[in-house]
Point group: C2
DNA sequence: TGTATTTGTGTCTTAGTGACACTATTAACT
DNA sequence: AGTTAATAGTGTCACTAAGACACAAATACA
């Protein structure tokens, strides 16, 4: 309470960092949420995040990454600033600014550390609609998802939310989960070849029909962006 | 000095908002800069910006727009959050976060208000290379320009840095100034038609050869994004 | 052996850009 | 008045990557 009052005195906004972590689990797109243990919104789910620690962090990227490492014990394969959300009404404690990052992480890395006292959960994106989420975090998730959708249409970014070995079918499922539309399998295969980002392994796996070729990311490969977006069909 | 100390005590970063304002003037792309009147970097050029005023602003967008209105007496036609820049070394006064917006504005609106004591100038982008700019603002300008370049390749956004009446040739020049590559006139015309954003006026203007058709933005039109990026030729 | 199912290929169509020749219209110059 | 340079605008073929979809290949299971 006192600190709140003091901050207002300096006319500086409350500043924090939040993360929207995506992964592909059980054939659906998930977001990592934690349960609040204090007011406001005590007991509600929210996005993980924390305040910037001027002593520990050189910049806000480090703050966000520190938060992710504390949750999953792994560095995300894709990590990018989304945008800042701000306003006088989004947090009852006063004018607040939340700098939000979003990231894609392999489902293998989900050793969601139970070290913290908090409850942590990979939440299905479709389940979030009907869930009470703290602050404006539902809106933030929607924005992050929208950004991810755009990128999925003209880049290979969706590979980063898969396990390190995967089939074209799994990649297709991930893309379709992200953009919520079906895509042409053929178009995806063309892109996989054109990107040169993946290499086929000497291994195939069962998939209900013909065995499926396994792929993995080539080492030291950069994300490829295409000049054309996929459409829907 | 005291306030600096107090802020450190609360471990909260210095927070401010900055604007990268672009316009097309004298056939070249310009950025609005102001001259610093106090330490640090006194006398150097910097991006316009200011601190969030919790009393005046509902959110950071309003802070940025308030800053723009104070400088140009006009609302920009395109205005968007770029990203936050942060770090312990970018401002000698301590850990700082700058939330940067970028905007495109018509050169007609350049009634750069001399009301403020500051010196204000539209600086040619090519001149910025060899100029001493305060803080990391040169880097910020480069990032904003890069973002603008991307968008220029797949949208009609460059129209927003032109006067309200313009020719295809002027639009072509603006795009080429933004992306620093020549484009095909024919491709541009095809996009102008496909977008449906512009309407031809009953007027033509001199241009050194055949008279050029004047266009303007249709009212109530939304920015069109294409599925394909332009390449270079 | 036959059928359902999924993987993967072949190929025609479609859409939008690149390239570039060609026409149109104006000013300036002789 | 005629010629030329310059810019505006059109016509059209080539190229590329995506959409659509038929079809072949491989596996499980009845």
């Amino acid at each position: 309470m006192t600190s709140e009052h003091d901050l207002t005195e300096f006319h500086t906004p409350l500043f924090s960092v939040n993360n929207v972590l995506f992964t592909m689990l059980q054939d659906s797109l998930k977001v990592l949420l934690v349960k609040r243990t204090s007011a406001p919104f005590k007991g509600r789910w929210e996005l993980p995040g924390e305040c910037v620690d001027i002593e520990l962090d050189d910049n806000t990227d480090m703050s966000a990454l520190r938060n992710i490492k504390a949750l999953t014990a792994a560095t995300p394969q894709f990590f990018e600033q989304l945008q800042a959300f701000s306003g006088i009404n989004r947090d009852p404690r006063g004018f607040s600014v939340s700098l939000v990052y979003y990231a894609l992480i392999s489902p293998q890395c989900i050793a969601v550390k139970p070290s913290a006292v908090e409850e942590v959960k990979w939440m299905d994106l479709s389940a979030i609609q009907d869930l009470a989420i703290a602050f404006d975090h539902k809106q933030i998730i929607a924005t992050a998802r929208s950004q991810l959708q755009q990128k999925a249409l003209y880049s290979m970014i969706p590979v980063y939310c898969l396990a390190d070995q995967f089939t074209i079918g799994q990649l297709k499922a991930a893309i379709e989960a992200i953009i919520a539309k079906p895509i042409q399998r053929k178009s995806l295969i063309r892109r996989v070849e054109a990107s040169g980002m993946l290499e086929a392994l000497d291994e195939k796996v069962k998939s209900g029909g013909r065995l499926a070729q396994l792929y993995r990311l080539k080492s030291d490969t950069e994300t490829v962006y295409f000049e054309r977006s996929l459409s829907f069909g």
